[in-house]
Amino acid sequence: AQSVTQLDSQVPVFEEAPVELRCNYSSSVSVYLFWYVQYPNQGLQLLLKYLSGSTLVKGINGFEAEFNKSQTSFHLRKPSVHISDTAEYFCAVSDARTSYDKVIFGPGTSLSVIP
């Protein structure tokens, strides 16, 4: 069965500093990977996704993530964070073999940007 681990439940970082949010998954099959963001009192919004091709994926708001198959990781990075990046970030995985797009979500990482 697939599972997603986000080791850091909370990440405080100063404004304009770089940040990396870690995500590891367990799966014996090919996967699709996603990062979602949830701003306070809002629904989930897709940041970026990896389906195939280049392992470096660029998303919205200056975020990017790199798929590392050997380490089963999909860490999210941003070189310089802004106050408005304060939110909950969810990593998610799905089975690439099937057309049933059930997605398994990680527990989330709360990013707090400090002015």
Partner: protein, 116 residues
């Protein structure tokens, strides 16, 4: 831009009441989902639907029920609300996968439910 709506956004209700959480999407998506999310925790799939008259239970057991009479509408009902039902409920939809590619799920803003 994705158009998926949930009402109400917030609901405080007493134990034993019947409630229906509404979810509508205007994108013509076949697939729709309900997730439950406790604060700071991961999402859990509680119901999904592949299309009209299709409903399935998800990974997390839930006392709620759903219906899919119309493509755009996927309401969730609790016949008798209890404090243990207090949570956030997120609705999502996605289009049928084409060419073997995963389709993005679009999420509504969520309904925060508090049962007293």
């Amino acid at each position: 831009e994705a158009d998926i709506y949930q009402t109400p956004r917030y609901l405080v209700i007493g134990t034993g009441k019947k409630i229906t959480l509404e979810c509508s999407q205007t994108m013509g998506h076949d697939k729709m989902y309900w997730y439950q999310q406790d604060p700071g925790m991961e999402l859990h799939l509680i119901h999904y639907s592949y299309g009209v008259n299709s409903t399935e239970k998800g990974d997390l057991s839930s006392e709620s029920t759903v219906s899919r009479i119309r493509t755009e509408h996927f309401p969730l009902t609790l016949e008798s609300a209890r404090p243990s039902h207090t949570s956030q409920y997120l609705c999502a939809s996605s289009d049928t996968a084409r060419w073997g590619l995963q389709e993005t799920q679009y999420f509504g803003p969520g309904t925060r439910l508090l049962v007293l």
